[in-house]
Symmetry: C2
Subunit: 207 residues, 2 copies
């Protein structure tokens, strides 16, 4: 008996390597050594596989945010959060990017409606930056917070798209380090002296 887990693992591997739209269900079934009909039995639509993987990705990310909230609000912890998210985005890049292709259909399913997800994420980042301000890590007014939220929302959503336009499987650690350093630099533009020390502390830990 084939487990859903096996299908998802192989599907993610293929999506990452060749892109969601390039992977056919017949081919996926062949790689799994099962019939196309059997694959259909477990996931009646190709999109269902995408959804299941997005579910995994989403759950993992939620746990990262939850964990962050238990820590003291420092720039270093914030960057560590971003590092975890970036790693996760890299691991799920095939579905994360492919997500865009099927947004039209996903709009219906509120679970993955981009508008509601983006709104929640923006609110989360707004709170995070407010806390960092209160903790003396950032020197920002509300306008600056909105700017940083807009920055991190777009940047955090599309860095992996840019990275994989060059190369579908770029060096994971090198690529993440590069984009993390850009986030760190952006943050440092609004950091207090204390906050800058925290950023340096994080930066030296990843090099």
């Amino acid at each position: 008996m084939i487990k859903k887990e096996e299908i998802l693992r192989k599907a993610l591997e293929q999506f990452n390597e060749r892109g969601y739209s390039e992977v056919g269900v017949r081919e996926l079934a062949r790689l799994l050594k099962i019939s196309p009909g059997n694959l259909s039995y477990h996931f009646s639509k190709k999109e269902d596989i995408l959804m299941a993987l997005l579910e995994q990705f989403s759950a993992q990310n939620s746990s990262f945010y939850d964990h962050y909230l238990t820590l003291a609000p420092t720039n270093a912890h914030f960057l560590a959060l971003m590092e975890k998210i970036f790693n996760s985005q890299y691991d799920y890049r095939g579905v994360y990017i492919g997500n865009q292709f099927v947004q039209a259909e996903l709009q219906n399913q509120d679970r993955f409606n981009y508008q509601s997800i983006a709104a929640k994420r923006a609110a989360t980042f707004q709170n995070i930056f407010r806390e960092l301000e209160a903790a003396g890590q950032l020197r920002v007014d509300e306008k600056n917070i909105d700017f940083l939220v807009a920055y991190i929302t777009l940047f955090g959503r599309f860095w992996i798209s840019e990275a994989t336009l060059f190369n579908r499987s770029p060096d994971k650690h090198k690529t993440i380090r590069h984009y993390l350093s850009l986030v760190a630099k952006q943050l440092s533009l609004f950091a207090t002296e204390e906050g800058k020390k925290s950023i340096d502390e994080f930066s030296s830990s990843i090099t």
Copy 2:
């Protein structure tokens, strides 16, 4: 006799409204009141339509850069350049975003190889920022220039993707104004007093 221009116009309209992958060649032919075979005669592959539209888009953008280089290097002129580019990206959003979907195939055709295009664009922005520094508009060292180039490259490539994830046809002027204001803010973080005046000058001209 149907002109290639008519096909491209209708195709762009459809790609913008419904997305590249959602528009079928048969349907496009029906909308143009011609047979699918006739469409094949003018553009033997669907991708050829995409390429022709990207060609138009690319030519238009080049003219914007060329024009900018004839002007005095000021932040206001730079932002005016970005405004033109943003307008163009919006108008071609269907192919601009769809571009990502077919990158795998486009990698072969050097004309639209993302790596070479991105490298050229990065070099262009690097020169622009260096000139703005020399003209006393920006206060930046080479590291800051690299940071700004990385920022404008990613932001300028993906703002339209973010905007259309919410709504395939968001209000053009409102959306562009929003994203331009983010660019202006980012630029102001590195601007001299003189440079800030130039940014304000531009900002007041678009509100």
